[in-house]
Point group: C2
């Protein structure tokens, strides 16, 4: 497509929606007219797009045949209902809400890993960005897996409160202030006190004692890497950090390696910045590096004591950026070039 | 010993020292006279022992031949120098400082696991409580290991700031207040901002990219369980929580099991409280359960998807209590009964 497509964003007042709008501006995305949409009380709010302030309109009554591209973020039920209507009107849909998680016809795409899967958009009209953890994990590890083979993977993910959108951020700030002022706290978005605390899960427990968020990472990995013969176990916990998730990884490779070979692969992985722990540079943290950053940071790469086939690494990324909004924008950049 | 031994505590103004003094009172430990000792500026401070307030005296000039039992906590150099003198004066020494970590003649003891090792006190006069993580980990897992065999263990430990004593607690509180008041923060005890952040290590990086705290858990495990043929890999990170550590565990067993058998073993493990996630009771967290508690809490026990020999579990405990001061008091309770 030569000209600039008209674009709609459903869920424009959501944290991910706002980040997406900001990224379209930052990356000089070729935007024709931009339609910010939402439902309920959010209709009528104003959201910044560069220097402009755009009014959010009602997604329910919008005519999607007017836009070539629609992003859906936020509440999955709303995203699915409105996204289906948009696709039927002929708009291409890029989803970050997880609304089509159970639909194998909606491809999950990480442009660095499986851009060819975007072909699927020709049939159903919809593609999806995987869950944030899936994006961070495989952006960092797929080149290692491809090169050395990966038999087993143990993931411990610690979620920032920004996973719960603006409400999560407000709750951590409010609880922290209340506690420091010796006022009683009232958990709302999180089931227990989150300030100065860690919660052992982030979603309902489903089969086998695993949470929905844990099973989702396993399931999305199967879809993203259908030929990988990989045993995975995942824990997703909640920590009192505003932005920037941490994933502690242990992996068992198919062959013993030396750590320099692993490091060399990471150094060539696009989108990844590796910082050695204990070196000249301070190792990355959510606050100092991951929050608001487009890169995925890695540190603490090492082999297990006396084992050449077992490695550990620490992955950090901002789930509102590469984990979600940025991945959508990168998908859209390819769509604009090759599919619209 | 029938009568009440006279006791000295070296490091009495340290967080662990104060907790130890509180536990001696709470558990009606048979105390003759109690001598609170410290060095430098701490000399002259007052510390509560039940209703009393006792003055802290100078450890450097104390005559240890007057006490049957000496606890050493806090700074390892000071603990070792003064503890050696105490042992030479005929006092039995129980250490929580890690001062003798490199001395194989000083037995590491967890009363629930290897009480017979206390015999070693007859020769050298000194026994030690292992590092906090070693205590929490093996108190929880040794009965499982003994029953089902454990081939491989992956540990991700998240430290509360109380590991850094009162200075760590003050730094998290001060930074949080400063940030909420939009004042600049100045990291002192921690190398980076700790409020609302996670740090990828808690100690210097030694060989192979592992930190001193990580290698210590591996090394202490070898000493505590010399016959275990176990591959271990450990990560120790720092989180913005005041009290209560979290250890996320993945283990590979020698044989496939069902999760009910694992649960049954945990239910019979002394000192451990297992709470099922997603059940009637809210799962344990540092703030609501671990902080200030003598029990070690477990939750999220489950098997890997489609693997009967791989399990995950979440361990919580207060490193100032069972992880350290309580373990010392429990050691001392046996010493008083059988060795003094």
């Amino acid at each position: 497509m030569e000209s600039k497509p008209d674009i709609a964003i459903v869920g424009a007042t959501h944290l991910i929606g706002e980040t997406l709008i900001q990224l379209l501006h930052e990356r000089d995305f070729p935007v024709g007219s931009l339609h910010l949409l939402d439902t309920g009380e959010a209709v009528g709010e104003f959201v910044a797009f560069g220097e402009e302030r755009l009014r959010v309109r009602d997604a329910e009554s919008f005519d999607f045949s007017a836009v070539a591209l629609t992003f859906t973020v936020g509440d999955p039920q709303t995203a699915r209902r409105i996204g289906e209507a948009a696709a039927e009107s002929g708009s291409r849909v890029v989803d970050a809400s997880g609304a089509w998680a159970d639909d194998p016809d909606v491809a999950l795409v990480i442009p660095e890993i499986n851009p060819h899967e975007l072909d699927a958009i020709r049939y159903r009209g919809i593609v999806a960005s995987p869950d944030c953890h899936t994006v961070l994990l495989w952006l960092a590890l797929e080149p290692l897996r491809e090169r050395f083979g990966l038999r087993q993977l143990f993931v411990t993910a610690c979620n920032a409160v920004s996973h719960q959108g603006k409400a999560g951020i407000e709750e951590l700030a409010r609880q922290t202030t209340d506690l420091l002022n010796v006022r009683p706290i009232e958990p709302e978005r999180f089931p227990q006190q989150i300030a100065f605390n860690v919660l052992a899960r982030t979603a309902d427990i489903l089969q086998g004692g695993h949470s929905a968020d844990e099973l989702r990472l396993v399931e999305e990995t199967r879809r993203l890497l259908p030929h990988a013969e990989l045993d995975m176990m995942v824990t997703v916990a909640q920590i009192p950090v505003f932005f920037g998730d941490v994933l502690q990884i242990y992996g068992v490779l198919e062959v013993p390696v030396d750590v320099d070979s692993l490091r060399a692969v990471l150094a060539e992985t696009p989108g990844v910045e590796y910082i050695e722990a204990g070196g000249d540079e301070t190792e990355p943290s959510p606050v100092t590096d991951a929050a608001g950053s487009d890169a995925v940071y890695l540190t603490r790469l090492r082999l297990a004591p006396e084992r050449g086939d077992v490695f550990g690494v620490w992955i950090l990324g901002d789930c509102t950026r590469k984990g979600s909004a940025l991945n959508c924008v990168q998908i859209a950049e390819i769509l604009v070039k090759d599919y619209l």
